[in-house]
Point group: C2
Chain length 236, copies 2
Amino acid sequence: MPSAKRTKPMRRGIASGSAAVALTRQAEDYLKTIYEIERNGDAAATTLIAARLHIAPASVSGMVRRLARQGLVEVERYRGARLTIRGRRRALQMIRRHRILESYLVTRLHFGWDGVHEEAERLEHAVSPDLIERMAAALGHPAVDPHGAPIPRADGTVDDMRLRTVGDLAVGRSARVARMSDRDPALLRYLGELGIRPGVSLRLVDRAPFEGPLTVAVGRMRHIIGTAVARQVYVR
Amino acid sequence: MPSAKRTKPMRRGIASGSAAVALTRQAEDYLKTIYEIERNGDAAATTLIAARLHIAPASVSGMVRRLARQGLVEVERYRGARLTIRGRRRALQMIRRHRILESYLVTRLHFGWDGVHEEAERLEHAVSPDLIERMAAALGHPAVDPHGAPIPRADGTVDDMRLRTVGDLAVGRSARVARMSDRDPALLRYLGELGIRPGVSLRLVDRAPFEGPLTVAVGRMRHIIGTAVARQVYVR
DNA sequence: CCAGAAAGTTAGCAGCTACTAACTTTCATC
DNA sequence: GATGAAAGTTAGTAGCTGCTAACTTTCTGG
């Protein structure tokens, strides 16, 4: 079952040119997490990485050091981590895998959009590039996943524009739902019940004072949603 | 990305009733390997496990002890390991996953039958039972995989009868190819070129003396194959 | 039966990834 | 600018999985 080529320590000065080095599941998750945090501009803070991965901050320091040793991140002590070019390439590869997997599972194996995330999360570390490209081809190379998130291209580029959320909408304004987080199945189910999914149009009818709940119109239904929910629904 | 429930040591006296405990990739591979070795009747010898997994015998002793601690194998010191009921169930679950994955990849994603093994080998540790059952359903619950190997049922039973190989055939006898090993892509490609695959009929035309090469007729072609190859092709 | 070979085990080491506890640095606020 | 809180790091521990080296047990063939 292994076909295992011993993965020896195999140190090198410049940490190998570019040919995707074998990384552990964990290392790949760190890279993805750092990528997502970094999208907000700043270096990824230890505590944020720890919180997203549900591990202790102390554990992050160690792993980040290992990633730095492999040339995947740059660290400034007490200041957080940033992906290197190679790190970013790898992070985007994982995200591409994740989103293609989600798309495939939803359209070809009838997974619910609220349940795919977890499955894709495990599979993304096990699939070969060949399999991913076969899935992408079978799907006709989709540009977005079932949650509306853009799928990075095989060459490592993405169109990942920053979108407004329902929470940013001015009262009375309409917008089309573009995307929502895939992380929380319960939230997705809830939104699904309200008819809120990528593609539908909605209008912000009212906003209670002091960061209070919002009233949105979807079709001819009205729903009252909390601000936390409103922040998870991206519109265009 | 983790949705990680901390996997605490969590010791128990009887090692949990039956609800599939989380195992590492390695542990799962050991179970599969032991299962396959045990099919020959004897307890699985340390050296054999080591050879199949391409690791040192010393490493096997340690892992086998851990598997025993978890109630998955029984060990008699210096005598080898045997699967417990739970261990066997788990091994068969992995084999089911592997074979359904191979079937799915070949029929739905156009993988060559010589290349699927490795992909399935990685995926089998990452797929959920739900995904496997969806794939099985999509394929119409096949009984055998693309190499002719029987797919264990979801309830953990298999019809795994011992078959003769081409090497066992008497000169002049015909038989239908039932199955072949999925392990060696080069061998599979070679057999494919000879037109030898599950379902085709062949006849043993001649057998050179002293364990020498065999001449087989496939359709109206004749091929001379070595005994090592002949032992890998199962017939019925 | 007994000696050498083969098989198997233990001991000690290393790297990974996580933990807690204790310490250091940085930040925010007065 | 000092100071306490927050953030981050190090040190030490633990389990997993692999390794090699050295030792023990079992087998095999004279």
